[in-house]
């Protein structure tokens, strides 16, 4: 089911007398979530992602705007009539009911014509349990299950009514690191198998990037960017998105465009046809090329000089090598450059010099922090 957010706004009135400004948790969201995809709502804490989720599921009423599931306007519908399944961050499994009773619970709420018989209910519950692979735990109580198993039960409970939209609130945040990897693949598999439009909220960019078909980056209630994970990573629209996505974080520098070159400090590091003036420069960790060999003719011919930094440390992870260095123009404390470990790196001494990969370098306006092309 396609989910359309039509100029959706949610304002929480201020309860603080000293600070009477209302909180705009969701500010004029206007986008369409395509059918049958896995969508990650991504942003730092307090950016309005959970509010958005609650608006979609109907636990909150929007201040302005509409929500449509396909052609149907569901803005005024209560949650139970929207056909949504919601998985809570703490799972909210009823502790006094067994796994089976928990999964049956939504079905038992159905009244009138649509109410399935006992056998149908049981069959549906079994099916949902098999889908999330907990069918052997049906008679346990939630407290007898591990965190990951509880998570699966919560998903099964949300899926048992075959919702049009499945919503997951921070589905992985209560799991340990190893289980997190496993569970996110699991969520992806369940989504692919059922084909249900699934929206999940997370503050962990890696989580969002790894399994989403589409990520929606938010900040302070304002939509920043929406797109495929790689797209958003490669073409961030502003400095916030560039900084928020990617581990290790992007390296930020004070730079200047002048005479067709981008300068960091006094070094012309790249050719650039951006408008002249001061800019923020963001360089992805993988955007550095070590200038350790003989001078690269092509670069020199273009008038670009290697970008020289003070070497601090070389960290080896086995898969790759991080070169940690500093430069006065750097906005953070360290510059982190990641190199493949497949060739021997000749890094030693006090200094290290890099050439830059142009498509890994982003320029941002000094005041608006929007991307400059």
């Amino acid at each position: 089911m396609e989910v359309v957010l039509d100029h959706l706004t949610k304002i929480f009135p201020s309860r603080d007398k000293k600070n009477p400004a209302d909180v705009i948790a969701v500010n004029d969201f206007d986008f369409t979530i395509p059918d049958g995809k896995l969508i990650g709502l991504l942003g730092p804490s307090g950016c309005g992602k959970s509010t958005t989720l609650n608006l979609i599921c109907g636990l909150l009423k929007p201040t302005k705007g509409r929500i449509l599931f396909g052609e149907d306007d569901v803005t005024e519908l209560p949650p139970e009539d929207r056909g949504v399944g919601l998985v809570f961050q703490n799972y909210a499994l009823y502790p006094h009911l067994t796994v089976r009773q928990n999964i049956l619970f939504p079905l038992q709420n159905i009244r009138g014509e649509g109410r399935p018989t006992k056998e149908e209910m049981n069959a549906k519950a079994e099916e949902a349990a098999r889908l999330v692979q907990i069918d052997m735990l049906m008679d346990r109580k939630p407290k007898e299950l591990s965190g990951g198993q509880q998570q699966r039960v919560a998903i099964a409970r949300a899926l048992v009514k075959r919702p049009k939209v499945l919503l997951l609130d921070e589905p992985l945040s209560n799991l340990d690191a190893r289980l997190r990897l496993q569970t996110r693949e699991e969520i992806k598999r369940i989504q692919t198998e059922t084909g249900i439009t699934t929206i999940f909220v997370t503050h962990d960019q890696e989580e969002a990037m790894s399994i989403s078909d589409l990520i929606v980056v938010m900040k302070d209630g304002i939509l920043q960017q929406i797109g495929r994970p790689q797209e958003v990573y490669d073409e961030p629209v502003n400095m916030f998105v560039a900084k928020f996505l990617g581990t290790p974080q992007i390296n930020m520098f004070d730079g200047r465009v002048s005479g067709g070159f981008l300068y960091i400090g006094d070094t012309p590091v790249l050719k650039s046809d951006a408008p002249e003036g001061d800019v923020h420069v963001g360089i992805r960790p993988e955007g550095f090329i070590l200038a350790d060999g003989p001078e690269d003719d092509e670069e020199v011919a273009a008038g670009v000089e290697p970008f020289e930094c003070d070497l601090k440390a070389v960290e080896v992870s086995g898969r790759d090598v991080s070169i940690v260095s500093t430069n006065p123009a750097c906005q953070g404390t360290n510059i982190r450059a990641i190199m493949g470990s497949d060739r021997n790196l000749n890094v030693s001494g006090e200094k290290v010099s890099f050439y830059l990969k142009p498509h890994k370098v982003y320029l941002f306006d000094k005041t608006t922090e929007d991307r400059v092309k």
Partner: protein, 296 residues
């Protein structure tokens, strides 16, 4: 060796509490038990005629005691379930309002901090009927076309009605306090989850809220039973000290009368009655605990 030393040390630390409890709790309990088998024990001379079950036999054949047992059981059976149910009802309503909630919470808690005897007086005035004036309740009854009833000095059922209303009123605040806090400690996510699943309010209440707060309800029922079995001061507050004459005595009242009342000076009978009360309360509590455990 070292473990033994640690164990010895722990007992040493426990000693003050053990001594205190031993002197003021365990010894008197044993003493009461012993008294209950000593016939005609006399405080002054510290003497008795013989030992045996005569005290129990006397108490169990005493019409005043049987009346007291009957009264106590009526009060227990009526007030404990009713007060718990009403308290639950009020707590649920309190939890579902936001405006004026703390005001109402304070109002409902007031009886708890009010003196029992003073409140008893208020109830007497509310329910009384004299040759000259009627209390407010009787005025109400008259207004609806009934005739006045003497609730304080009249027929048994009228007195019992006042007694039960009064008891419920007195125990309510504590129950409301416990239940409102139990209700507010239920994670609101459960309610959100239930709403998304399309659960009707009544089903949310008995499928989610009730099981979640059931430990607290059991706690209230058990302490309620114990408290109601030990009722005495409420009766005095309403009907005065001569409860046998009013026919409104309770088991604890009987024990007190046997010790100090008009018919006082019979510690052996008092002890026997106290032991009988103890056995009743113990039995009921064990049954309660068994029911609450079997639910798990």
């Amino acid at each position: 060796m070292k473990n033994k030393l640690i164990e010895l040390k722990s007992w040493l630390y426990l000693l003050p509490a053990v001594i205190f409890l031993g002197i003021f709790m365990v010894y008197p309990l044993i003493d009461v038990f012993v008294y209950s088998f000593e016939e005609g024990y006399n405080f002054a001379s510290q003497s008795y005629f013989g030992t045996g079950f005569y005290n129990y036999s006397y108490v169990l054949h005493d019409p005043y005691f049987l009346q007291a047992v009957k009264n106590t059981f009526i009060i227990v059976i009526i007030t404990v379930p009713l007060s718990t149910l009403i308290a639950l009802f009020i707590s649920v309503l309190l939890s579902s309002i936001t405006k004026l909630r703390s005001l109402f919470q304070t109002v409902y808690f007031l009886p708890y901090v009010t003196n029992t005897l003073a409140v008893g007086l208020v109830f007497m005035i509310l329910f009384k009927k004299t040759a000259y004036t009627d209390g407010m309740i009787n005025l109400l009854i008259n207004a609806f076309g009934g005739s006045s009833v003497d609730f304080i000095d009249g027929p048994y059922w009228a007195k019992m009605t006042v007694m039960c209303i009064y008891t419920i009123w007195v125990v309510m605040p504590f129950k409301i306090l416990i239940l409102t806090s139990a209700l507010s400690s239920v994670n609101p996510d459960y309610y959100s989850a239930a709403r998304v699943d399309g659960t009707r309010p009544w089903r949310i209440f008995y499928k989610i809220t009730l099981p979640m707060i059931s430990p607290m309800i059991f706690y209230l029922v058990i302490t309620g039973f114990i408290g109601a079995f030990k009722a005495y001061s409420d009766e005095v507050a309403l009907f005065g000290v001569d409860l046998n004459a009013a026919g409104m005595n309770t088991i604890v009242g009987y024990v007190y009368d046997m010790l100090y009342g008009d018919s006082g000076g019979y510690p052996s009978f008092a002890s026997a009655a106290a032991i009988i009360l103890f056995i009743i309360v113990l039995t009921i509590t064990v049954i309660n605990l068994m029911i609450s455990n079997s639910d798990d």
